[in-house]
Amino acid sequence: MTDELDLVTGARPEVPAYSPTAKAAARRQLASPPARRRPYGFAIAGVAVVAGASVVAVNVLTAAASGTGHAPTVAGSAAPEPSRTVAALPDVTKMSASEVLGRAAQAATDLKPRNDQFVKVTSETMYSVIEAPTGSSGTGGPGKEPRYLYRDKRTIWLSVDGSKDGALTTEHLQPRPYPGWPVPKQAYAQAGTTESMKLPTCGQVPDTVYTRLERLPTSEKGMRAHLFAGPRTKNPAEVDAWTKVGDLLRETYMPAAQRAALFRAAATIPGVKVTGHVTDAASRSGIGVGLVRFGIREDLVFDAKTFELLGERGTVVDAKAAQAPVGSVLSSTAQLQVSIVDKAPDAPNPISEKQKYCG
């Protein structure tokens, strides 16, 4: 007999596709900053891998973890002349993506955290903000949407097995201009302030906690399949795969075997190329390896000597697609330190909406 629900389902109206103009406008807005709190999220793998608390330090790299702004190991950091590398260093400009990523795979280390510990990651980040025009409706023309690059220094504590609440401390740094746009006055307001908050687990274990990452494939092939396995989007598959690489590394600590597999698998993603010398958010010089996405070349930055991951960087290569001049840097991060600690600091719970979003 007639089922009322089927009737309603069967009457689901056909609707035309989301108009590309409206969609692009909506998408652009997402570069807007959250009203108060900075996004919980960002950052990438690091230079100095140190172990805190009870774990042996594995690999202390460039001495001063927090951006003294120079990378002692990399020639040419002062003069960004790509062909002038010190003889002992590999000529990175001639290396292929698979060579660079292969070296990165070899450089993978393991801190072997215990399940009851925390991964602590300190990073410096810069991302673009395109604020919604205050008049609300539609797509304001240029001059109506303030744009700038906001910068933070972040320290995040995330439970190794996802069972405990984490914490995030964000120190807001001075903003920088988005190419061609004045920095709006309000963008300076937060600079110099620091905020902390608890990151409640809400009883859920994120995919990128150490104990989950530990279960990912350790072979290049298996990891490659994992990278390409995600839900299909309208993006080219290799773009999604590259995005996933970044997602797995950003503010996480990936076990050595999986990390090595990840870098090897990343090298097999079509279109991934070496850029040569680039710098990270802490002005450390390195080698960029990346893929062009929406007119922006999204690089992972590796130390040119040790092949440790330094950070991420987004550089405009197609002015039209990216809506910024070619060569401008719209995002840049530096992972300054990764360590294992026994506790996360106490911090205020941000959550009036806790009940709402912790189901």
């Binding site: 007999m1 007639t2 089922d3 009322e4 629900l5 309603v8 389902t9 009457a11 109206p13 056909e14 609707v15 596709a17 989301y18 108009s19 409206a22 969609k23 909506a26 998408r27 807005q29 997402l30 807007s32 959250p34 009203a35 709190r37 996004p39 919980y40 999220g41 960002f42 991302y127 673009s128 919604a132 539609g138 995030l168 687990t201 994120p206 995919d207 990128t208 995600g230 839900p231 989007t233 309208k234 999604d240 995005t243 996933k244 970044g246 997602d247 950003r250 922006i296 999204e298 987004g314 719209l330 995002s331 991060t333 941000p350 909406e353 806790k354 709402k356 979003y357 912790c358 189901g359």
Partner: protein, 180 residues
């Protein structure tokens, strides 16, 4: 994939890329295509999601119920326009093809699929009932996902659907039968 939302603004765009068409389609079904309501709802849904993502990231394995929940709240803000539209659709039966421009475009938006009698029945549901029903019927959410989206217990979803069935049966003049 949720990790995308953990990431920077550029990365959050991945969540948008994956789900915006679906959310937009749902908003269009609910609100029609005129006046740009569906576009507004979609844009606003992702803006809100973006701002709340640090909380979301830690809590959910799938973004869809969360996004639909945000969209549902926003659609509720357009309740009057939705009901007006449903009533306009319901009137197409009475007025045949002599529609006012507004009604005509409303009809176009529904691409003829929504029968007048059904539109009338939907217009008579409470907004909570309509929301629950359409998340299940038009957004393909499970009862559990609907419960998540609306922040209500799954039992409430079941009882609402049960009540909605009875109402629809009554309003659509379907034969009484034992409830499933």
């Amino acid at each position: 994939m949720i990790r995308a939302s953990l990431a920077d603004p550029d990365q959050f765009a991945g969540v948008f890329d994956r789900h915006s068409d679906e959310i937009h389609a749902y908003a269009s079904r609910r609100l029609g295509l005129d006046h740009g309501h569906a576009d507004d709802v979609t844009a606003e849904t992702f803006l809100i999601a973006f701002r709340k993502r640090h909380r979301y990231d830690l809590t959910r394995a799938d973004a869809r119920p969360w996004l639909y929940g945000i969209a549902a709240n926003l659609i509720a803000g357009h309740r009057r326009s939705e009901v007006r539209r449903l009533k306009a659709l319901a009137r197409t039966a009475a007025y045949g093809h002599e529609l006012h421009e507004e009604e005509r475009s409303a009809e176009r938006a529904s691409a003829a699929a929504l029968r007048p009698a059904l539109a009338a029945a939907l217009a008579r549901l409470s907004s909570a009932e309509r929301e629950t029903l359409l998340l299940v019927a038009w957004a393909d959410l499970s009862y559990e996902e609907t419960a998540q989206a609306l922040q209500i217990p799954v039992g409430t979803v079941r009882s609402r659907i049960h009540r909605v069935r009875a109402k629809l049966r009554r309003h659509l003049d379907l034969p009484e039968e034992e409830t499933s």
